[in-house]
C-alpha cells in the first residue's frame, strides 16, 4: 500500500453518505438497506456479483434513479430533494463512467469530449476547449483517435474515451462503473494506474465498481462487498478477504482460480 502515502484520506469529511437505501423494480428487490460512506480523497472498490445492483447504486447517487427509501447525501446535499438546477450543479462536480461507455455515437471523439464542456462552460474559448480535450485524451493515451467515430473504436478504447470524457469536467467525485471489464490485463493495468493517478493529481474521491479483484486491490483504499442488496463487509482488501464468510471466500476463490488458469494457459 505504498500508494496510500501519496494521497490523504480525510476521515472527518464524507463526500457521499448513504443510509438505509432501498430500491426495487416491480417485484424485484435490488437494494435492501444499503449504508455507505465515502471519505474525501478515498477510493472505494465495490465488488459484487452480476445483477446485484451495483450500477443501480451509483445511478441513485447521481439522481438517475430514485430510491424507494433511505437518504443519499452527496457533497452535503440530499440528492433526492434537489431542484433541477441544484442537481445539475451537483452533477458537474460528480463524474460518471457508464458501464457501456455511453459515447455519443453521432459525434466523433473530439466532439464527445468537447460537448459537455461547451454545453456547461460557455465562457471557454475554442483554444481552451482544444487544450482540455487534448489533455484528457493524453491522460488516457488516445490522442491519435481524436477524429474517429465511436463505432470505429474497440471496446477498450471506447472505455478509455469514456474515462476521458468523465475527467474533462474536473469532478471532485468519480463513479466508475466497471472501468476494466472487457480489457486485456495490460490495458486494465494502465487503467488501474490511471485511476490512481487521477486520485493523486486532483485529490478526487471515487467509487469503483468492478468484478476484477486485481483492479479492486490496486485502485481501492477500501473494498465493499455487495451481496443480497446490502454491503456485507467493508474494509481493506486483506481485511475483507480474510473473512470467514462463505460468499466472500467463494468470490475470492473463483477469481483466484480463474486467474491462475489464465496464467497457466
Amino acid at each position: 500500500m505504498k500508494e496510500q502515502a501519496k494521497h490523504q484520506i480525510n476521515l472527518e469529511e464524507s463526500v457521499i453518505a448513504i443510509t438505509g437505501l432501498e430500491k426495487s423494480f416491480d417485484e424485484l428487490d435490488v437494494l435492501k438497506g444499503v449504508d455507505f460512506t465515502l471519505y474525501r480523497g478515498e477510493n472505494v472498490a465495490v465488488l459484487g456479483k452480476s445483477g446485484s445492483g451495483k450500477s443501480v447504486l451509483i445511478k441513485i447517487m447521481v439522481g438517475l434513479l430514485r430510491p424507494d427509501a433511505g437518504q443519499v447525501w452527496v457533497l452535503s446535499k440530499e440528492v433526492n430533494e434537489l431542484k433541477r438546477k441544484e442537481l445539475d450543479a451537483l452533477r458537474l462536480r460528480v463524474g460518471f463512467l457508464f458501464q457501456s461507455s455511453a459515447l455519443y455515437d453521432s459525434m466523433d471523439v473530439y466532439q464527445n469530449l468537447s460537448f459537455p464542456l461547451v454545453m456547461t462552460k460557455k465562457q471557454l474559448t475554442k483554444k481552451e476547449v482544444d487544450q482540455e480535450v487534448y489533455e484528457a485524451l493524453d491522460a488516457v493515451g488516445l490522442t491519435e483517435k481524436v477524429n474517429e467515430m465511436p463505432a470505429d473504436l474497440s471496446g477498450g478504447q471506447r472505455k478509455r474515451i469514456g474515462i476521458a470524457r468523465t475527467l474533462i469536467l474536473k469532478p471532485e467525485i468519480i463513479l466508475y462503473d466497471e472501468p476494466t471489464s472487457g480489457l486485456d490485463p495490460i490495458t486494465s493495468g494502465e487503467i488501474n494506474n490511471l485511476i490512481r493517478e487521477v486520485q493523486e493529481r486532483y485529490n478526487t474521491s471515487s467509487v469503483i465498481i468492478t468484478h476484477d479483484l486485481t483492479c479492486s486491490k490496486h485502485t481501492g483504499d477500501r473494498i465493499a462487498m455487495l451481496l443480497d442488496g446490502k454491503f456485507i463487509k467493508i474494509g481493506s482488501f486483506e481485511n475483507v478477504f480474510a473473512s470467514k464468510d462463505e460468499a466472500i471466500k467463494s468470490f475470492y476463490n473463483y477469481n483466484f482460480i480463474q486467474e491462475s488458469h489464465a496464467r497457466i494457459s
Binding site: D88, D105, M119, T120, L169
Partner: protein
Amino acid sequence: MSCHFSDPLNMNTTGSRTYLFTKGIDSFLKGVTDASTFTVRFFKESFLPPFHFHEVINQSFEIGLKSLSLITVTGFIIGIVFTKQSRPSLEDFGATSWLPSLMGIAIIRALGPLVTALICAGKVGSSIGAEIGSMKVTEQIEAMEVSAINPFKYLIVTRVFATTLTIPVLSLYCICVGLFGSYINVHAQEATGFVTFYHNAFSSVSFLDINTSVIKSIVYGLTIGLVGCYKGYNARKGTRGVGRAANQAVIVSMFLIFLEEIVIVQITNWIRYY
C-alpha cells in the same frame, strides 16, 4: 392505484398490480397520460432557456435533405396520375378546361400536405424514433443528464421544432412539384400554356385554403416530431426496443395525421360556410 398516473416511467411501482379497468384499458390510459405529460413538458421546456438554435437548424437540414428526393418523386407522380385519372370524368361533361382548377384544389387543399406528412411520418418519424430510442437504450441520454445537459431540451425540443418548421416548407414544395406534374400532363393533352394553367389552378383556391394547408402541415410536423421523440424516449431496453420505437412512431403518427385531417377539414368547412 394513483401510482399508474403519477409515475410516467414506471420506475417506482412495487408489489402486485391492481387494475382500474382491465389490463389493456389501463395501459392505454397510461399511454395517453404519459404522452400528454410529455407534450406538456415539451411546451414548457420550449419557452425556457437555454435555446439550441444551432441544433434546430442542423436537424431541419437533415430532415429536409432526407425526404426531399422522395417528396419530389411522389409529388410529381401524384400530380400526373391524379390529372390522368380525373380527365375521363370531366370529359363526360365536356369540362376538361376545369382540370387545372380541380387539380389546384385537390393538391393544395388535401394532397400536398397529406402526402408530405405521410412520407415524413415514414421517413423522418421512424428515424427520430430509432435515433432517440437507441440513445436511450445505450445510456447516451443518461450520459447527457449526468453531464448536467438537459437531454429533453437538447434532443427532444430541437427535433420537434425542426419537424414543425420543416414539414410546412416541404409541403409547399410538394404542392409546387405536384402542380408541375399536373401541368405536364395537361400541357401534353390540351396544350394549355404554363401561365394559363397556373392562373386557372389558383383561381379557385382561396386565401383560407392556403392558410389551412400551412396550418395543417404545422400540426402534422408537430405530431411527427412529438410522436417520434415520445416513442424513442420511452423505448424499452435492447435492440428490439429500438425497432419497436421506430415502428410505433410511424404507425401512431400516421393514425394521428388522419385523425387531425378529418378534424381540420371539418373546422375549415364550418369557417367557410359560416
